[in-house]
Every structure is written in structure tokens, then in C-alpha cells.
Subunit: 212 residues, 2 copies
Amino acid sequence: MTDAHTITVPASGVEAFRVNAGQTFRITDPEGGQVGDLFAYAAGDLTEWLSASHTRAVVSRLFPKPGEQFFTTRRRPVLTLRHDGSPGRHDMLIAACDAARYADLGRPGHPSCAENLLTGLARCGIYSHTVPQPVNVFMDVQPGADGDLTWTPAATGPGDFVVFEAAIDCVVVLSACPQDIAPVNRGGPTPLVVTSRDTAIRRNAPVFDRAC
Amino acid sequence: MTDAHTITVPASGVEAFRVNAGQTFRITDPEGGQVGDLFAYAAGDLTEWLSASHTRAVVSRLFPKPGEQFFTTRRRPVLTLRHDGSPGRHDMLIAACDAARYADLGRPGHPSCAENLLTGLARCGIYSHTVPQPVNVFMDVQPGADGDLTWTPAATGPGDFVVFEAAIDCVVVLSACPQDIAPVNRGGPTPLVVTSRDTAIRRNAPVFDRAC
């Protein structure tokens, strides 16, 4: 299902879209148990992106609470976490899966969120060699008191969702994490759905398109 | 004091140096209470750097324990934490201080670890527009069970130190954090000292120098 207000990110795949300041978008996990790696770039300056380490520095939390914001490499708000209709487990500690990860797992060439990011950016006319640390929605990685991290498969049930609002015009890339070896997704990779009630979603909108 | 085996990083300043695989270096906080922002790049490919998010993914900890390693954006070991002669509080959650941070604090143009990094790299012939998340030695930021972060001024006493061993040939940049507004350093910015017993330290070694 893909219309002007809905984008389906296929299992293990990626979609990129433009959102303008004030626009909200919902990410739904229709089947449950699926992690999404979310990246966001300032539309006017693609060396400015959503940064996990800057976000932690500003909000003084491992992950923003609903109502709090994510910040860029220039410490500007880029997204607000407006509503959380999920068990509330999201990760901002772990790098995107990538070629090196799957080679280590004995599966060289396996699809990855890093590859997906660069694919999504390329569709918008952005050619990058940098993979920022993503916001891993629905991914459950919890630190213990000793600093050890415990990884648990995504706890989302069918239809769970999270809503973001753009604080600035930005390009968002969402990868439906293709991890099917380590226990990140529950029950194998499945799709994610992005919806926007208020404004049409400009899928693959070229970053150089002044009409955006 | 700067000889072939010692580099003093001046208060609020930076030094960059080459270390080869197997070489160890010690970072000492001579006066105590001083944070160092540490960056490391693979000597052969400067798009490969020590990555906090990849390190957490590999070691499944918020920060490596002594004997554990830091990993690059390509998931290769780059440094090993050989010995910790400090209270053992180090941070790998928080971005380097930067121009935006000091502007927010009402001090535009204040020296920053981000500026220091690019200065250090430039001395080695590397011109970059990306500031990776650093390893903040001696910086005390602890997450609580609810995900809130508690910031405490560096707990190091005079002479406390930490020892790293290079796993690959790399360029290391160490910024003596100039933060004198927020309570990160205790008692104002002071120097840090880098020493290497086994091999001379090649300060500002050009990355294009094949003799390294």
C-alpha cells in the first residue's frame, strides 16, 4: 500500500522521504517484532544529521522521552518524539548493521541497514560515504548497572507505532532492519509502514528539488 | 616537557600523533580532574575511525573494560584498553564540545574539542568536516535505571592514567577538553600528558609520510 500519505518499507528494504518543519509522520510495525533504523538529515545541509551523541548530550538521557527531541551534529532539534504507541523500547546505542557485521556472521553480501541508508540517500541525489549512528526504533538494548548491554528481540506487537514531528525540513531514511541471524527482529524481517495524515509524503524527493 | 617519548597536550589544546600496531601509549592527568577527548583513525584509510556505536555493538558494553577493545566504523579493533590507573570512569555517550555548545552557553568562539580535533588532523595533512564521537577519558557520565544521565566532574587525582595499545597503525588525536563552564573538568582546564616507553611518539606525523 503506497499512496500520497503512506509508504510501505518492504522487509529488509528502505525508503527515503522529505518532511517539512511541523509535519508529523507515524512509523507502524504492522506485523510486530520489527526494528527500523531511522536517519534524518537537514534538507539544507547534508553534513548536518541527527546525531545520537549530540542528542544524549542535550537531553541527558540515553533516549528521548515522548515530548523530547533529537538533535543534529549542530545541536539543532531535527525531530520530536510526539507519541509512543509501542512498549517504549528504542535504541540509540548501537551502530547500523553493515557489511562487516554480516561478514563476521558468515554472510558476506547480506543486505544491511548501512547499505540501505546509502541506497535511500542516492535515490534523493545524495551520495555519501558516512553512516551516522541511527535511531533504532523498536530495538531493545538495555544497559545494566555494570555497563553490560542486554539485547532482546523487538517487543512490538502488530500495529505498534511511534510518531515523530519534524522540527526542521529534513530528509528521513527508514531501513526495515534485515537482521535475520542475530536476535534483533522477532520472527524474521517484516515491513514497516510510514504514514502522514496532514501532508503528503514526498518519497524519494530529490534533495536538489527546489519545489520541496 | 616534550621529548621523543613524551607529549604534553596544553590546557584546552590538542596534539596529534601516529602510533603503530602493537605500540602502547599512556595518557596521564598530571593535575587531576581533566577530561581528554580521544579520537583515532586508521592510518591507511581516514574514512575509518574509532566509532563509539560500533564499539558498543561489538563489546556489548557502554565502555570497554581493561583488556577489551575499541572498534572502527569497519568493525576492526583499533585500540585496546590495556590498563586503567584511574577511578575507571570514562565516557562514550557524549559528543565532543563544539561551537554550537559554547554558543548555547553564551560563549561563541570558545575553544572546543571539535575545533581541536580538526586542528590536530590538519597538522597531519588531514582535512575533515566530520567530528566522530570521541572516547572521553576520565569523563564521568553515568546512566541511571530510567535512562537519565548524571554528569559529574572528572574524579581523577593527580597522576591518574590510562594505557592504550594500538591494534592497527593509526593517527590519534587527543584534546584536553577546554570546557570551563559546564562541570565536566574539575577545577578548570589543565594539561594532559602522553607517554610511550617502547617507541618514540611521532607527533604531527604527516599521514602521507610513507616513512611512518
